[in-house]
């Protein structure tokens, strides 16, 4: 009984936080609601990246492309083929991303170590280039594809920035819960095992390669949902959205919050999205300087003051390791 009680007690702060966050629209302007929605989506993307990056130690620099497959699938089915059901679109986006990440995994896992990083970077860019050049994935002259709106849930809902925020919040909570369950399961343990000691895992009879494929596919599938949500919210999606720069930002989010911890990547995602927004507000021209500086400072902090870099690490009581892929 005590264990059940302590388990419940540990959930209380999370639930309070969730309910509090659900009520936020009463306090915020619609711009702030949109910003927070955007932050939630990116945070969820970073959390899904960290399933492969932090848990399984697969340093992928192509994650935004996997999310992009979901976003472009949603656009294609909605604008080209006229599908209007949210559930249909989100499942299709997830499936498309799952398939893409399977191919991604099969090719990139041929390479090892630093090579793996290079290959993921190149594969991510390939998807972004495809979106840029292939006429099938373009509308008229524009680089971004447009015409996406928030599809219907079939529940007679009334979409505006506030309800969208609440809906995305609930989805994000579900997604995070799923990730927690994976991390806590034997599967998650096998991810960390193949990250920390590949040889021992093989000796114990685990097929490390297979676990790595599973990690990438799970992470890609979740990010496909995020990609579709991103497209619904912004009404458009462009090759730059899904390019290498976004993948790099996702890695920054994961690391700044504490890669390989329970909630680190998610919190990092919210922080970086907000910071990026306010940096852009301060100066469109010089914002890259701030973001770039943040990358460099994080790299140096991670090296010399690891406790500060993953500031939330102690808070979330997660484990962290710097094992090389």
């Amino acid at each position: 009984m005590t264990t059940v009680f302590t388990q419940l007690r540990r959930k209380v702060p999370v639930l309070v936080l969730l309910i509090g966050a659900l009520e936020l629209p009463f306090l915020l302007s619609s711009q702030q609601e949109s910003l927070l929605t955007r932050a939630l989506i990116f945070a969820m993307m970073a959390a899904s990246l960290d399933l492969a990056y932090g848990q399984a130690g697969l340093y992928s620099l192509g994650h935004a492309a996997l999310a992009g497959v979901g976003g472009y699938t949603a656009w294609l089915l909605m604008v080209r083929y006229g599908h209007e059901s949210f559930w249909y679109l989100i499942v299709a986006a997830a499936l498309a991303s799952a398939l893409a990440s399977l191919v991604f995994a099969l090719v990139s896992l041929r390479a090892r170590g630093l090579y793996f990083i290079l290959v993921t970077l190149a594969l991510g860019q390939m998807v972004s280039n495809l979106a840029q050049q292939w006429d099938f994935l373009k509308t008229a002259q524009a680089e971004a594809v447009t015409g996406i709106y928030i599809p219907s849930l079939g529940l007679g809902e009334d979409w505006h920035s506030g309800t969208l925020y609440q809906f995305v919040l609930v989805l994000t909570a579900l997604g995070l819960f799923t990730i927690q369950r994976i991390i806590g399961s034997p599967l998650g343990l096998a991810f960390r095992g193949s990250r920390d000691n590949e040889v021992r895992m093989e000796a114990l009879g685990y097929d490390v390669w297979r676990y790595r494929v599973v990690a990438i596919v799970l992470s890609g599938t979740l990010s496909g949902v995020c990609g579709a949500l991103f497209a619904f919210q912004s009404g458009l999606i462009s090759p730059t959205n899904i390019g290498v720069a976004t993948s790099g930002l996702l890695v920054l989010m994961a690391i700044i919050g504490g890669s390989g911890t329970r909630y680190g990547a998610f919190i990092g995602g919210i922080l970086v999205t907000l910071l990026q927004f306010y940096a852009n507000q301060w100066s469109m021209e010089r914002a890259p300087m701030i973001i770039g500086g943040l990358f460099i400072v994080t790299a140096l902090l991670l090296r010399f003051r690891p406790k500060v870099a993953g500031a939330l690490r102690s808070l979330t009581r997660g484990r962290v390791s710097h094992a090389v892929a």
Binding site: L114, Q125, L252, G292, H322
Partner: protein
Amino acid sequence: MQIIANGISLGAVLFLMGSGLALLLGAMGVLNLAHGAVYMVGAFVTSTLAVDQGYPLVVAILGAAVICAALGLALERLFRFIPGRPNEQILMSFGLIYVLANLAQWIWGPIAKAPFRISWLEGAVQIGGVSVPANRLAIAVVGFAIALMLWLVQDRTRVGAMVRAGMDDAEMTKGLGINLDRVVLAVFVLGSAVAGIAGGMGGLVLGANTNQPMEVLLMALVVVVVGGIGSVPGTLVAALVIGLLDAFSRDRFPEMSSVMLYLLMAGVLVLRPTGLSGRTA
């Protein structure tokens, strides 16, 4: 014929970029994704010196090489803090790309520089009854000259032997009393100077813009994966194949041209994961 000239000149530029990247990665385990940013600096400096100030092209390119070598010196300082740490190297590289691209935009303005027009490289040269654009010929000549030089350095000199030894077994090399840190520094400076030259020569056909750090990096990266690490001829062959493939597919299937490179990379990985030359990082 035009396609082959385009392909070979692009291949020469890619070789210059890929060789630096491969040396750092293979010999030193340094993942310097900011290598493309060095290229961009080289291109902008050459544009200022040769086009705006009217210095001779050779002087401008040497100037770019010197400035990029100095930049390489600074980069080495930063990367020395984080040896063997992929996470930190990824973050550092991305940070440097953001900062350097934004600095370049600050200094040289947001408008991309058109391909440099150098009066004595206008027009075409007749080779065996075929006319080849002079600027592309110049790029190829410089590329092959530097390839030859790098190959001689790596295969025939003491420093080259140290680099190769570091590539095979870093611990043992240090144990033999070789100062590998000094070798890393040399590779960083030399690689950056070569990237600066690549930027200057590449600018003859590609101009200079702030997207180049990523664009050029990605093509060079494909060269590294396809060519493998640690052999100058391997990198050269891969660079030429990729240059030609890019020029050919731009002509034949423009919608899919850049995808072809990555498909080639994926194919090589699946069939021969160590790349053409057969060494891994």
